[in-house]
């Protein structure tokens, strides 16, 4: 079981969940097949990221860096100097076999140089197969509270301007030694849109309090289905009332 760490770095209107650089290196050296990893998700204690969202994003981040693994492997390539050495040995072996005139000792040395030694050299150069995995593969996520991340959340929350928030958060993250956060804020200072972040830079998650709940698979969206009593505007959850629903123009004829 390997331990990994993801950081829920606060940004304006949300959180970017990213994997620490140390974890990237650790997971990069672990084969994906059969990997058992426990991801510690470090977030602020404010509950702005729901456990379900955190679990989903952490698993995807762990999967990403497990798959981008580069296990140290040796590949067999014919080396010119080695080949020349082997070929000269084989020639010498052939000469010994011919010149031995039936004497067993030089013949044996000839056979050794001609066939056995090159065969052993080729065998020795081949990489050993990796051992079969012994763990039960799994990806587990545990939520942990991180004081440094909480400080960053406060900085983001108290600044009204995006750029000011990111500039101050950059300073704080540098002071706290959170390199991943400092690098993220540097990117956001160049372009404050989380939409412009690369896939390796993290997964954006909306704040739970601001999240406009998705219009889930619901007959509400099927035009043919008659309205239900619970669809009455008075019974709609308050957070849905903030949504910008398009009001159809009644002057247009129906299709």
């Amino acid at each position: 079981m390997r331990g990994a760490t993801c950081l829920g770095i606060p940004v304006v209107d949300g959180t970017v969940l990213t994997t620490t650089y140390a974890t990237r290196r650790l997971l990069g050296a672990t084969p994906f097949a059969g990997a058992a990893v426990t991801v510690h998700a470090a977030v602020a204690a404010d509950g702005l990221v729901t456990s379900d969202d955190l679990d989903h994003a952490c698993r995807l981040q762990a999967r990403r860096f497990l798959l981008q693994s580069h296990p140290p492997t040796r590949t067999w390539r014919p080396r010119p100097a080695g080949l020349l050495w082997s070929a000269s040995g084989m020639l010498l072996g052939l000469a010994l076999v011919i010149a031995s005139l039936g004497f067993w000792l030089p013949s044996l040395a000839g056979v050794w140089l001609l066939a056995l030694r090159p065969w052993m050299l080729v065998r020795a150069d081949r990489p050993l197969p990796p051992p079969p995995p012994t763990e039960t593969p799994s990806l587990t996520v545990r939520r942990v509270t991180h004081q440094g991340i909480a400080s960053l959340r406060e900085v983001i929350a108290r600044n009204l301007e995006d750029n000011l928030a990111y500039a101050e958060a950059y300073e704080v993250s540098t002071r706290l030694g959170i390199r991943e956060a400092a690098d993220l804020y540097t990117r956001l200072l160049q372009d404050p849109r989380p939409a412009a972040l690369g896939p390796d830079e993290g997964v954006w998650l909306p704040d739970a309090t601001r999240q406009r709940e998705a219009l889930t698979a619901d007959p509400l969206l099927d035009e043919e289905v008659p309205a239900r009593p619970e669809d009455d505007p008075d019974t709609i959850k308050p957070e849905i009332l903030d949504a910008d629903f398009d009001v159809p123009d009644e002057s247009e004829p129906d299709e």
């Binding site: 209107d13 097949a33 059969g34 981008q68 989380p194 997964v203």
Partner: protein, 354 residues
């Protein structure tokens, strides 16, 4: 001797030429066409969510067909960030099955097709699409096969999948130009449950199985060993059927052991050609079953659960496939996704995935 029409093998080709690609990529032209294209489909909006602030996306399901012996084919085009190629592949599929042809009618009488498409809403801010990963081995391509990164969208997808009870789930993903597999059009992975112990030993011994005489790498020997070893496994014949369709479309129906030379009109699918590629495949939990088709055995119960195919295989017992387009050219990647979908639909409608 005349054969009844119903006995003829099914064929399905959805090629997309550069001109058609440009038409489907044009939002204004597509919007006009979509009004007609959507008519034969039962349409349902599954969810709306944000991939980033302002980047609103809409997840829509389009259903067509009658669902006979071929069952329900659930086609997932909802990747973490919708790639232009995936959006265009989705539009091309909608257009293809809305068109009236006797072959399409034959297919639709046997299967029910359920396309789940993710597109940006009209006024949404677009996220910048980049290749999902930059790794230089096969893992870089596999990263792109993941489920949606938005928890809200994934919940909606999962709920729809459970309601649809699909027999086949196909995930279509643009993996971008992958350095290792960039000269190929792509590959298909299929979750297969072999059990933990067997999987571990198979992956550990994969390299030695692909060595011919004198210890040199041999593709021919590898695929022969695989065919002999898994002769009794039903997934093998499906893999070979899919491989034949993916490699040759309608031009060849007979399976060839190893692609010796790529013929004209043959889709150049990915297959390992060196020992180091086999090591990458083993590390990612993939077994090369047939050219272009790999068994995903990264988990003992069968495949990566963070792909739609792996999730459906484990939780719904469905047959799962993930098609990963890896070519350098976007049009080729779109065409690979369409070819993979066509292969899966023909295989399901022909009873090859039963």
């Amino acid at each position: 001797m005349m054969r009844a029409v119903t006995d003829k093998p099914l064929t399905l080709r959805i090629p997309l030429h550069a001109d058609a690609y440009a038409v489907l990529a044009n939002e204004t032209r597509w919007r006009g066409e979509f009004a007609t294209v959507r008519l034969p489909y039962e349409t349902r909006v599954l969810a709306e969510s944000q991939l980033a602030p302002g980047a609103w996306v809409r997840l829509t399901a389009f259903t067509i067909g009658s669902g006979g012996e071929g069952g329900v084919i659930w086609i997932d085009l909802a990747s973490p960030r919708p790639a232009p190629t995936e959006i265009i592949a989705g539009r091309a599929l909608l257009r293809a099955f809305a068109a009236d042809s006797s072959e399409r009618r034959r297919i639709l009488s046997r299967v029910l097709l359920h396309f789940v498409l993710l597109e940006y809403t009209e006024d949404a801010e677009r996220t910048t699409w980049r290749a999902p990963a930059l790794g230089d081995d096969i893992g870089g391509a596999l990263v792109g096969g993941s489920i949606s990164s938005s928890p809200t969208l994934w919940r909606a997808l999962r709920s729809d999948m459970e309601q649809s009870r699909p027999s086949v789930v196909v995930g279509l993903r643009d993996a971008g130009g992958v350095p290792l597999a960039g000269r190929h059009d792509g590959l298909v992975t299929m979750p297969v449950a072999l059990g933990g112990l067997k999987t571990g030993h198979l992956l550990a011994s994969l390299e030695s199985r692909w060595r011919g005489s004198l210890g040199r790498f041999s593709t021919l020997r590898g695929y022969r060993w695989f065919a002999d070893h898994f002769a009794a496994t039903p997934e093998l014949s499906t893999s070979r059927f899919l491989s034949s369709l993916l490699r040759f479309g309608e031009y060849r129906t007979r399976h060839r052991e190893v692609p010796d030379r790529l013929a004209e009109l043959e889709l150049p699918v990915y297959y390992p050609s060196t020992s180091s590629e086999l090591r990458s495949l083993a590390s990612a939990g993939l077994l090369p079953a047939a050219p272009g088709v790999f068994w995903d055995v990264s988990r003992p119960y069968g495949g990566d659960p963070l792909t739609a195919a792996g999730h459906a295989h484990r939780h719904l017992g469905a047959f799962g496939l993930t098609a990963l387009a890896t070519a350098d050219d976007p049009t080729r990647r779109t065409n690979f996704l369409l070819a993979a979908t066509a292969a899966a639909i023909v295989a399901a409608a022909s009873g090859e995935m039963a």
